[in-house]
Subunit: 246 residues, 2 copies
């Protein structure tokens, strides 16, 4: 039986999602909990994709196969009781055998949180990027509109990115301001390595007046990481939701 799980995690204390030797990662913690639940028989999980060190997930998705017949609604409790408290399984459901958490992704939503107050909010220090500067939100929104659509995002990913096809579609970029918090929401069919963090970094430079809105088309066409803005820190980023076709 194949089980699809939605999981949230606080990325602060992890070296990212993917298993690495001798490092605390989300995948390792979940696989260890599942293996314990299966009396030592190793269980592998397959997620929608990785997240980097410090990056959070509100709704990451993974699947695994199991011979156990625990009711859907009990899986989260069974797993959460074996998991550390910075990983919480939100829900679980039995799915068809051909469902794949990575290959079947239709869309992904990432959010990036910024706080512009003069002083850091101590309770949010690991959950938003403290950026106490003036920003022209309207200019950022207009620049964001130029990024929506199907483009080659070579300029907006880590230079050494190994994926060959760097064409991705961004369906929407929303920028919402509430009090001194700004929330960026990106929905796309896929995102390259560090892409959201470089997009936000570039938009912030436009918001600060360090770049012009109309530089965006040239940055995309130039296909060169050096043309875009700084990579903002991982702790403001959330894998918010993964969408599948059903």
């Amino acid at each position: 039986m194949r089980v699809k799980c939605i999981v949230s995690y606080d990325g602060s204390q992890f070296n990212g999602y993917q298993v690495q030797p001798n490092k605390r990662t989300v995948q390792r913690e979940i696989e260890e909990a599942l293996t314990k639940l299966h009396k030592g028989n190793e269980v592998k999980i397959y997620a929608s994709g990785r997240t980097d060190a410090g990056v959070h997930a509100k709704g990451q998705v993974f699947h695994f196969d199991t011979p156990l017949t625990i009711p859907d609604g009990r899986w989260p409790y069974a797993l959460n009781s074996l998991l550390p408290d910075d990983i919480v399984i939100i829900s679980a459901a039995y799915v068809q055998d051909d469902f794949h958490a990575r290959f079947d992704v239709e869309r992904k939503e990432y959010r990036y949180m910024i706080n512009r107050n003069m002083m850091v909010d101590v309770f949010m220090r690991n959950y938003e990027y403290h950026y106490p500067f003036e920003l022209n939100v309207d200019a950022m929104k207009r620049a964001a509109d130029l990024l929506v659509g199907t483009h080659d995002f070579t300029s907006f990913c880590v230079a050494k990115t190994e994926v060959e096809d760097k064409i991705r579609t961004i369906y929407s970029i929303d920028i919402n301001e509430e009090n001194q918090q700004i929330i960026f929401s990106f929905i796309g069919n896929g995102f390259l390595y560090n892409m959201v963090r470089i997009l936000v970094g570039t938009l912030l430079e436009i918001g600060q007046g360090k770049r012009e809105i109309l530089e965006i088309p040239g940055i995309l066409e130039g296909k060169d990481r050096k043309l875009s803005g700084k990579t903002v820190p991982g702790h403001g980023l959330y894998l918010w939701k993964v969408y599948y076709d059903n």
Copy 2:
């Protein structure tokens, strides 16, 4: 010169506020930072009161004396650069020599945060009490009204409390519900050891129908800790604001 500071801290990683041998406490961290700033000359701080292990502060107040003449607005930055990231000095101001952060307190506000969602919010796990149960909020509000006023709160503090005078005045108790979060706000002229946590625990038992609203006067009159409800965990509690007479 006497300086009054407002400080927020995340209590999760502290053994409370007050200095204890070989323990990480808020007072110790701040005194060490101040001593560093004063080139090794020891500086003592005086806060409005203690907070327990795990308890947070949004607006704790303390004062200290200094021969340094740093402008008010620079003190927070000077101190924050020497403090760990779970303590943030919000503001500082020079005050009269006879101001005392503890003796001059007029009122204090504490808040207690509860989340009733089925699943823990992983990002709030150290900042609210997860309590996924039905609650009659109206009953809790009516019981709270019976606690407001000047009473002997012996039944609502730790049995071994050494303070002799257990009469305190609660000016207001507000209970606000938003989505699945409930925020209790208490304003009073002073609070005994664990008093807010026992008050909330008792109100929750009323909200769950385990106790009657009209038990409150009898609990107060009985002056016995055994009569009141459970002590809720410290990680949902915030010293929110300290009020002085000026």
